[in-house]
Symmetry: D3
Subunit: 338 residues, 6 copies
């Protein structure tokens, strides 16, 4: 039977200026709906999972459009609540070469998701329907009420024998001034509940305040991640090191730490078409590998290839099939498939 | 020298689904920036006025896009303040025939304009630079702070010898439950300050709570408007009666009450392409007629033609020149102009 | 609990020239996926039903696109089989005024649906999961294998206590020369199995070969439909009379014959934006009324309003909610909803 | 064998603002290539003629684009010369309802066509390859050199036994002040050479300076056209009376005067999508009827239907087939053709 | 006098998803018409040849659109037959970087071209009108009837003293399982008739079953191609070696074997915008060089430059002029031409 | 108080084929309005200057569209005259990789700007309102009347104590045969009046006819530019050396010569999206540095970064803010800004 996954998170409306114009030059926008939870759930649905999103949308034209879009992505609507008035939005202006892309947010704090009251979701019931649940640090940054939802849900899943995934995903702009200090205790609460964690050495140093004498990224990683795993009793920690090259390419190297052992993927270098959401593709690859019992070498290679392909695809949400990813793991770039 | 006009109001981002699709069917949006103040100022700028908008925009990509758009409309940026984080937005789905158009708002209460603090604007200075100022009932519905801005500004203009225009523009959805009762005292404050008022018999009955035994609209109008003018010492009251026909056409009849006399335009019937903003075109026609000293017959015919043409033009903001409007007042529909 | 409906039918790819150009003038196409079964199922899903399509799609990029599109429409994928190579397609060039719209088909006979072998579907199992099933005369025209599927499925539903709906939908071009004669026996097989039938007097005369002396359409209808109901033991027969006016409007009058009684809707006249699929909206209204136990007056008015709104919406597939349709039954054309 | 037709005239680039925006609102243009000669030749090519355009285009990217476009329209390139630097252009802003369409020209006087020197075309050779040639009054308005080309070509065709068609097509803006007086002698030169002339009573009165006491258009027509035919020895004179209605429809009534007899078409009323070029469709219908030896009743009905359909088609250039036009002559508006 | 070339082949409708979306993400398609024969003929028409396509199109809206498109490309319609019902179609999803492009075919076997009966074409007559004819291995894969057409046509051309070109163009998906074995005898029949053949060492090894001990591509080529030329009495054999680099560039090296001598072009490396049809551009360059009597060095350099430029152009069909190709042979990349 | 800058120059309409199609393939154009003066003024307006364009536009729909566009760019309309009939236009076809971009001009010599009569502009008055004026060699190439305007304006500014900037910008196609000889005296007149000059060693050699024995570009520059500065008494000479690389990147190195000293920027290499107008961005950076009193090192780095960013932006006109440019001077390429 298909594995069942749920994510808890906000649905964001992405309003993207087509091509390479600024918002002040253009007159049309492409729109879609995404969010870390949407991305991870949809990616896993394409791998054959039954994918639920646990979220809230307004009962108006924008909420209807979001719901239709999630359906198109293959996300089951069963646990999507309808109340409140707004959907969080962001504007995306594509960068080119020396000019970086730029994101401008609308007021997401008033969104249906972020204002959903206690008792909106029946987490006990949901927990019984799923095998794994995914949370992320963006949701954690919203408000106390949301953090309460997260803890309640994570605990319910653990009690039902499910797996809890947490992606640290620290966004400085969301936590504001003195954010590392303010966020630490919330992060620790989630790490205490999590089985699989997406993070790297920067999260350990900045969010968790851990110290190292090492200067090089990989050395820092190798020193700090085992300490994190031990302290918070985490089975699997995975993440990536990314470098941005001058020629519109990025390089990515994935790692997974499990059973006291680090496993690294090859460093893959690739042209980037749409950077947003690629981290979620990597996370979905790790979750899939763990749920399927892949060897760590296969899991991290699969996740890295999933991440790579997500950079070549329009939109935040990964769209590659498992077969596409396996092919990208093994083949060199091919000619037209015809 | 060119007359100088200012409007005080919010800049809204209009996000319109192209063609006749629902937001849940389409994937692109056309965007523009408008608002009652924007529309009136821009219309008057096309008639040769120096047009200022007194408003606040965020200092980010969305604010920059709004500012560029206002520049394109010919609006002087001198009194546009930059602070806060958001621009109010609305989604527009075009109706067709038996299916009405539909507007869905984002959270405008958190916009830069609606959160601008006391002291943001130097109304004394602005008042010295203008001959006429325009306010509307949509702005009045926002919050106490905005209402305070409005009163301060209106008083400053009056003290400097300028003309105060107020468009009642009552929107039930903005005032919520029991809105007529809640809004009455704010409306009365503005009517006390206004020289030219846009309204009709419905505003008199519902907002101001005036009574009439008459059943027919025109009879109600003729009874109530003189009473309003007298009570609040208003020089000019103008407005329209609109009827929506089954065949995608609307009919419009304008009136102006001045010097104890009603003057009506002919009823004009016309195909409608974009209904939003047409009332602002009518208001700008009345203001122009009054500032130029047109006879009432000419003023109301000019305003009605301006309103009619605004229904044939893309976007909220009137774009017809004075010459276009004069031609539409006198000519029948013409063949291609070549 | 939500009622459960299934349709059996082909998914067609609609390739529409945007605007009013000919295929030989344009260079882009809008595409969507539809079909009578898709349209009826999706319309009922919007009314709250669990809607299944029983069909076959190829396991390639076109099949994936069709499946995503059906998901977006809210159609459950559980009984959609994947095999074969092709999706049926049609090109649509929009007419304007005196110039009619034009449809050109690709080769649908080789489609995955039309070549699906015996045993593809487990009709016994499907029949247990649904309350009502919908078939149509377009599917009936395909080939013997498809007709065998239809009979097997209809019998299984009847045996499980479900309701069988059949829409006669005779398309001359699909049956070719001497089509009325060739098709009669297949139609009779379906009528024998059906509880609710969509047809009018033309089907009775031309397909079933019934005779009448009457000349006027309504008189023919009133004479022939009761005879059909009696002969084939059909509980409910419903349909419409349409007339096409010179000014881009159509007029529609619906009828329902049930318990030996005819009930007619008012004749509604409306501007037409997209004619295709409107008959399916009417059928879905009849099915909904019957499943919900509406009075015949309400059922036929609801179906007529559903049909009318479907003419105002982009695409073949009805998209109105039950609330939209109730409002259209009672209200006159409204101003912008804001 | 297919009849062979040539037109002599300029290729214009049409730059059209999509939808109903003004040039000052939009940011994209649709472009195509047309002109009276292009339109008539292409229409006749669709009826099965070999259609030549005699014209000049620059040997650059714009000229190449024009040439490709003419090829697509089925126009033979054999007599299109390449020299000079520019193509004439015009901008088209679509009107809506009460707002008329608007055309703005670029500098066509410097175009390749209008600056082509004497000797550019070998009219003797061309005349031997064609059965009928078409000229129009727009070309006549350009300059002396063009007028010399026209006369030389017309004479060559007459000497070779071909038929000369001249469409009066008087455009006030091209002749400037005192245009009727200035243009008269050039018009008379063409009328002396023409066998078939497109005109109506206005041309007779204003261009040719003929007098009538009648007030009503048809009475003026019936009095003046026979006098024109007699004075200039013209076999066939045809034209239309058009009226523009308030609801986006036009009414058209065609006439043909031949063998001392007037024949009128029915008045056809129809919705208008693209008005430009419809007169050329009418002219092509008259030419076709005359070349094929239709009875006058059939010719004028065919021409009126061709004109009507041209109003329903995108672009200046008629695109209907002979079969489409015959169907439009006889049938009422039809449902979707599928 | 201009050389006259004909190609025999199917016209395919290319339905391309714009940008980099999947078919399951987008809602519009760009369409055009192409095919190996179309591409080669059009390329040679741009070099000044009279270019005929010998093919069959349906007499419906799709066939009309194809015919218009071919006209635009400058292809003479004289030998295009109209019968049957369908045009072959393929969907193209553009790859990006690590993600390859993907082609999905509609059912081309039922197309007008592939079902055209014996006697459709008068090959004797056509052969007298042309100097060179082009065939390809894609057409050869269709069915026996098509193969019969090919042989009849090739023999007729040879008997009339014309030149026969055959492009091996082996597509595994068209021949299915055991395709090399099945196709061999048909390939040999064409090679026996051909004067100029497009192929490389892979065709020799896999299709013709020739053996070599060599491992390196160029060594295999140099050993096998002379043997092929000798065995089948072929005057000229030409082809390319392509390698696909990781950074969106391809490298291409052309060869020509003639008079017992190999001549190679420089290896050119270039960014790729649209890969499809580039092989046809190379073939058209070889044909042009041979027909014009270029030295082999010039022919192969011209063909390689033509192939390179075809990768930079939208659509399957080469669009560069002879002058463009000569410039690309000699110049380095230039600044804007203005 | 904000510095005030004016440019004297023509407004050109840019008609760009979207994507990478040729004009003969596409059917839509993107349009905008630009010109060297527009670009420099708009760039400086974004840095906080009051920016005037001194130019002439027609009083028609095209002129209105141009004026709106300039307003959107933040250019003050005070000194834009309205007369004449035409706007100069150019068509732009984007190159890709090995295929260069291509520009085709319409007839700009008849434009409103180029036909504006003596006395159109009140240069004395304008000179009193500005601190710096910018001219360029493109304008100088137009005609005697324009050159007279330039000299009059430059003298007026000098007499009022303003700064005169002249960009040599020699375009061979505008001066025609023997252009260097014909243009020399006009260039010398402007150099005599200029304080800041944009040029490099090629202008010195070809336009001014200066000699050098050096072969290498930088050596030629270092020898010739000081001689030019001395001969024409120019305070500041600045310019760039550009090289175009094979991989869609350009390399740029800026220089400034001032106080007898050369200062060079680093060579920056970057991907190019839109090359046109980048030189104007560099010039605006030099002007800004000089007006603000930057050190030469900062000025030339700022100008080079401004030029680099202009290559990444859609359209001719630079759109980067001062803050964007400062960031690009110091940072490496960043990740998405969110």
């Amino acid at each position: 039977m298909a594995k069942r996954v749920a994510s808890f998170g906000e649905v964001m409306m992405r309003l993207q200026v087509p091509g390479y114009e600024f918002l002040s030059q253009a007159s049309t926008l492409n729109y879609s709906f995404s969010g870390t939870g949407v991305n991870v759930t949809s990616a896993l649905a394409r791998f054959g999972y039954t994918g639920y999103l646990v979220s809230t949308l307004p009962d108006n034209a924008v909420g209807d459009a979001a719901a239709s879009y999630l359906q198109k992505l293959g996300i089951n609507q069963l646990f999507i609540h309808r109340s409140g008035d707004y959907v969080g939005m962001y504007f995306l202006e594509n960068g080119f070469g020396a000019r970086p892309s730029r994101v401008t947010y609308s007021n997401r704090l008033e969104s249906s998701f972020n204002t959903a009251s206690e008792g909106t979701y029946n987490f006990e019931e949901i927990a019984r329907e799923i095998d794994v649940v995914h949370f992320c640090g963006i949701t954690l940054a919203m408000n106390d009420s949301i953090r309460q939802h997260m803890k309640t849900f994570a605990k319910a899943v653990k009690e039902n024998g499910g797996t809890v995934v947490f992606d640290c995903n620290y966004r400085p702009s969301l936590w504001g001034e003195d954010g590392y200090r303010k966020s630490k205790r919330y992060y620790e609460e989630m790490l205490d509940l999590a089985d699989i964690v997406m993070m790297n050495e920067k999260d350990a140093m900045f969010v968790l305040g851990m110290k190292t004498e090492k200067k090089e990224r990989t050395e820092q990683l190798v020193e700090l991640i085992p300490a994190v795993a031990k302290k918070y009793k985490i089975s699997v920690i995975a993440g990536t090191h990314r470098s941005i090259n001058g020629d519109n390419t990025h390089s990515l190297r994935g790692f997974i730490f499990k059973n006291q052992t680090f496993t690294f993927s090859k460093t893959v270098t690739f042209s980037v078409y749409d950077r947003i959401g690629a981290g979620d593709a990597y996370a979905s690859g790790i979750i899939h590998g763990e749920m399927e019992g892949f060897l760590p070498e296969k899991t991290v290679a699969f996740a890295a290839a999933a991440g790579m392909l997500a950079h070549t695809v329009v939109g935040d949400t990964p769209i590659s099939s498992e077969a596409d990813i396996f092919r990208a793991m093994t083949e060199s770039v091919g000619d037209v498939e015809r």
